[in-house]
């Protein structure tokens, strides 16, 4: 347990895109390689999954979605961020629940708001929106649903 977990991972996966972001190590992994990399990271000492979230780049970049996985090693005090890029019409990614059970709710939240399907998740249902809700609210092409409001000081009628 003594070696630095990041050093070991970098040696083993040198071909991946590693960079520093505000002092934190970030690695970009392809979807097909995610489970292998995550298992290696867990064995190296990243025993806690802090969060799973996603980014919708919409038209500014292909692939459209980024799934962001934050790992923490409590014994080594190290953090690692994993980015997995997903195309707009192929938003499926393997679930990390078999490795870290704490990913359960976080992946449900990403599914609820971005529509990214996690293969192997035990119960992939909506968690914050009502169960029969249509659409994925945090995608950039989802309208905010604002109700037009007439304010007293404004001159035009909206």
């Amino acid at each position: 347990m003594s070696p630095d977990p990041l050093e070991g991972l970098k040696e083993r996966f040198t071909e991946l895109d590693w960079h520093l972001s505000h002092g934190q190590e970030v690695v970009r992994v392809e979807r097909e390689q995610l489970l292998e990399f995550a298992t290696a990271a867990q064995e190296a000492g990243f025993d806690m999954l802090a969060d799973v979230t996603a980014v919708d780049w919409y038209r500014s970049r292909e692939p459209r979605f980024d799934v962001v996985i934050n790992l923490l090693s409590m014994s080594h005090r190290a953090r690692l961020r994993i980015l997995v890029g997903l195309a707009r019409d192929d938003t499926v990614v393997p679930s990390l629940v078999p490795l870290w059970p704490g990913a359960n709710f976080a992946e449900r939240e990403v599914f609820d708001f971005f529509g990214i399907v996690f293969e192997g998740h035990p119960d992939l249902t909506r968690i914050l929106m009502p169960d029969d809700w249509d659409g994925f609210p945090l995608r950039k092409d989802y309208d905010t649903g604002a109700v037009p409001v007439q304010f007293k000081a404004s001159h035009k009628v909206s």
Binding site: M129, P130, Y142, T144, G145, A146, V147
Partner: protein, 155 residues
């Protein structure tokens, strides 16, 4: 609420009516429906400095079956709306609703898909208390104005 439905109208039932309304206002039990930040101010209203106990209202009933007043304190999300309606339906008559704060009254600063834009789309509201959040004095003013309206027979 009137007992005139069962008895013919005369001076006696008018004063019984008035006595009934007096009793309703003097110990109105609120049901706990603190949803968000307004709940903190509602707790402050029930606490020592601004005391709801002087109006007989410090006991917030957990069960809606034992409550008269529902203070909707906070944002109502789309997922919470059917729950709100069910709790309201479970309260026995006579019952009143205070919509506390901007979010419960109109959706507040959250004009979006996730929140119900005004709790009066779900339950009939008797008193709207503005504020984000309304201070304890504001909520108290709303509660006492509701008491006055009930005494006057208007709610």
């Amino acid at each position: 609420m009137s007992i005139r439905r069962t008895a013919p109208s005369n001076l006696l039932t008018a004063s019984i009516d008035k006595a009934a309304r007096w009793a309703q206002t003097r110990s109105m039990f609120p049901a706990t429906f603190g949803l968000a930040c307004c709940a903190i101010e509602m707790m402050a209203t029930g606490a020592a400095h601004n005391d709801l106990a002087r109006f007989g209202m410090e006991v917030f009933r957990a069960s809606p079956r034992q409550a008269d007043l529902m203070i909707v304190a906070g944002r109502v999300s789309q997922k919470m709306a059917p729950v709100l309606r069910q709790v309201y339906d479970q309260m026995p008559d006579p019952k009143w609703v205070i919509s506390m704060g901007a979010c419960a009254s109109t959706g507040g600063m959250f004009n979006n898909y996730a929140l119900v834009q005004g709790v009066d789309q779900i339950v009939p509201v008797d008193m709207y208390v503005p504020g984000c959040p309304p201070g304890p004095q504001g909520l108290m003013h709303g509660i006492l104005t509701l008491h006055d309206r009930i005494m006057a027979g208007k709610a």
